[in-house]
């Protein structure tokens, strides 16, 4: 059991426990905190795979901005413990087995055709930020400019939604 495998299982368990906690917690704040744990675990997995820049961006953007936004909204709306409502009969009895079937199908597909996926030559080799940025600004410059436009649209949308009503 090498150190890399041990770290992988530790982080994978942390991510799965966080995701389960997201489903099972009743208060939205606890779900949000579990999601933050999942995101930090996934950032750790990125580091294990050598994607250091993506790991840093994951923590800064996802963990430090998007989840802060979620927590602000939960605090502002004073979201309380979820009320128990009755599911439809289909969801109650067929929901969980169907979800497990979906997960099982995906996982089985990965395992069965696993030999077709190439294993990396240099596992955990660090992807340098320089190569990443060169790629981003040469091959992917068009999507890059489009995403900046998308962010502008999102900012305008959020501004419009947050405006007070004019009488």
């Amino acid at each position: 059991m090498s150190a890399a495998l041990l770290t992988f299982f530790a982080l994978a368990t942390l991510a799965t426990v966080g995701a389960l906690s997201l489903i099972l917690q009743r208060h939205p704040i606890h779900s949000a905190l579990s999601l933050i744990v999942v995101m930090v675990a996934i950032a750790g997995l990125y580091l294990l795979m050598g994607a250091e820049f993506v790991a840093a961006v994951q923590i800064i953007v996802y963990g430090g901005a998007i989840m802060v936004l979620f927590i602000f909204v939960i605090m502002l709306l004073n979201a309380g413990v979820e009320e128990r409502t009755d599911f439809s009969k289909l969801a109650k009895f067929g929901g969980l087995p169907l979800a497990l079937a979906l997960t099982g199908l995906l996982a089985a597909a990965m395992v069965r055709h696993g030999s077709a996926i190439p294993n990396p030559d240099t596992p955990g080799a660090l992807a340098s930020t320089e190569t990443l940025s060169t790629l981003l600004f040469t091959t992917f410059v068009y999507p890059f400019e489009l995403t900046s436009f998308l962010i502008l649209v999102a900012i305008m949308g959020a501004l419009v939604l947050a405006q007070r009503e004019k009488n």
Partner: protein, 100 residues
């Protein structure tokens, strides 16, 4: 060395858990968070494949997915705030004016 399959199976499990949370929870914010969980699972698969093939295209795509998720979270939470003020509740089953 961790085989790529392990990452992919973990990604499938997280995606499945996100889908379960999406279907079963009633609070709109928790549903939104499960969407973020599913996006994260997909990101993990992207980076795993990027490492397996030795090219960096997967990681670039992950950056784009993170940006899109941020934009979506901003606008989506704005809509949630407005709807919650309107209906005075965060329960998705209360938004049923168009139901027969």
């Amino acid at each position: 060395m961790v085989p790529t399959q392990y990452y992919l199976v973990l990604s499938a499990i997280l995606f499945g858990l996100g889908a379960v949370a999406f279907v079963f929870r009633r609070n709109i914010i928790t549903i939104f968070m499960s969407i973020e969980l599913m996006l994260n699972a997909v990101n993990l698969a992207f980076v795993a494949f990027s490492q397996a093939r030795g090219k960096l295209d997967g990681q670039i795509f992950v950056l784009f997915v993170i940006v899109v998720a941020a934009a979506e979270a901003a606008v989506g939470l704005g809509i949630i705030i407005l709807t919650a003020r309107n209906r005075q509740s965060l329960n998705v089953e209360r938004v049923d004016l168009l139901k027969l």
